[in-house]
Symmetry: C2
Subunit: 352 residues, 2 copies
Amino acid sequence: MAQQAEQPQRTDVNTLGEFGLIEHLTQRFPLLNASSYLGIGDDAAVIDNGNFKTVVSTDMLVEGIHFDLMYTPLKHLGYKSVVVNLSDIYAMNARPRQITMSLGLSNRFSVEALEEFYEGVYLACEHYGVDLIGGDTTSSNKGMVISVTAIGQGEKDKLAYRSGAKVGDIICITGNVGAAYLGLQILEREKQIYLSSPEVQPNLENQTYCVGRQLKPEARRDMIEQFDKAKLIPTSMIDVSDGVASELFHICKASGVGAFLEESGVPIHPDAQLLALDFKLDPITCALSGGEDYELLFTVDPRDLEKVKYLPDIYIAGEITAAKDGVVLHTKGGNIHPLQAQGWVHFNPNKG
Amino acid sequence: MAQQAEQPQRTDVNTLGEFGLIEHLTQRFPLLNASSYLGIGDDAAVIDNGNFKTVVSTDMLVEGIHFDLMYTPLKHLGYKSVVVNLSDIYAMNARPRQITMSLGLSNRFSVEALEEFYEGVYLACEHYGVDLIGGDTTSSNKGMVISVTAIGQGEKDKLAYRSGAKVGDIICITGNVGAAYLGLQILEREKQIYLSSPEVQPNLENQTYCVGRQLKPEARRDMIEQFDKAKLIPTSMIDVSDGVASELFHICKASGVGAFLEESGVPIHPDAQLLALDFKLDPITCALSGGEDYELLFTVDPRDLEKVKYLPDIYIAGEITAAKDGVVLHTKGGNIHPLQAQGWVHFNPNKG
């Protein structure tokens, strides 16, 4: 009888990083079934069902790591925990159809608290037209753990992987990035003020946009519908959960290419611009390294440039280059320097 | 800013029970997609893919609630966390093809510890021919949380639901039940001895069978294969994770029937018989209320009785009756009394 976690040799899990760790642990797993079309390493896995493909994605959210119930209403948390998974399915250019939801809960949660959480789950399911088809609710010794699996459908020849970017492809970003990270900074600041002076009312005036991006993000279903109407298939795509820089590195690694990113092409909301300056942060750093925007980063063949130009809320932010040219940022000041792969995970002290 | 978990009205989650809670929280969710063939309430959900169906099941395992790392080797834990999900897929008379695995881990786990866990996951995937196609690895503030989703395939007309039992159907149980619960009792006893006298070596002699049933259960793939060869389709089926009594109630409730269970027909392993007496427990109580055996409880049409008789390791344990006759146990002593719905969850103080 011995503590299993104590081993003769002990390598800290942080030495490998999140992605390195998964790769290390799963590299020897072969795919045995013909229907297992794509395994680990993209936004979602792909199961071959003949004329269409089933797309599967899963995420775990842990209290104190991914969310803080001090400033996250449970209804918003329920909504967000669904949306972040749907975002992975859209990032495959597929449509989510079903989710399963597993919850681990300490006894400090009441039925009423859970009802509030499920109200958010319900609203997300209704809004995105997905069905809650299964789940598990169990005890935990501490806090709340949420595990969601999303299942979607995609047409055989329309799925967009991380691995399809080619030299000369145009890099595009939807909506705007960085606001969710800045929203988190406000919430953290107000939390600290509340903890030291509970009588002070939180000051969220003029910051509803960024706070909303953090607490109630949406997935870009509209983009997938636009692509479909415009008969546009991105050559590669990923959702921005860990930050544009980190996601661009994923695409470049999976596709074996480099990237030339234009600072002037990275869309930042005016409120996020102002707020970054308020926090004495560089807006472009927030935009590139802040996570949880759930926008789409994708590449298109240059022949599709005209199509992209006519679609609303899509910004052209650079070009795919040869792998040997690396992943670089062309700043507004005219400098070109290597992009830092630093994503959300390392950027935000709350994430582990 | 206020603790969200504190609500004006506060109903303890335990008042509704695990199944009541899920039902309460999910009852208003409609199924929006044509492909969502079956939602919450069976061993697995069913997605319609035309000529065959996709079957999805998910489970969350929490350290300190579902497993104790003091006596559970991580490799066994990895194996078991896969097997318990596959068991749900087999219980639909379907074949598991893929799994996703999400882990929440505190920093006390090393890479080597995780490698051991994944070695078990690997062995289970290899043994059952399933592919690990996705997952998420994240930090937790305390302990280990495992969330697995299994995805399987079933033929349209061969799936077995909980709801198909009809009056006159024969109740069958595979293998034997109760041993996993008794294995847990041994492990708990040895843990207490170790905690009070660390120099005493654990005494697991002659108890390898029951301990093995607890630490390294197997799912009954062989039964699904037998059914297929014998062209037998159970009218209803469920896997024994919470105990035979609890599972039989699920079938009766879903099918709108009663059941007449024969004590003499409930299979108990000789080692479990002896061990129950050792612990001054009634073997039939352990068999009916002990969980984690991962055997199959199913019903067949009486016209299929001959087929069942010739299949190995299947025991005939009673008959489905009208709902008004209730769910009763016919004891070896000749008494007939209502079966207690008491399952694993309530029986074992370790479970919440």
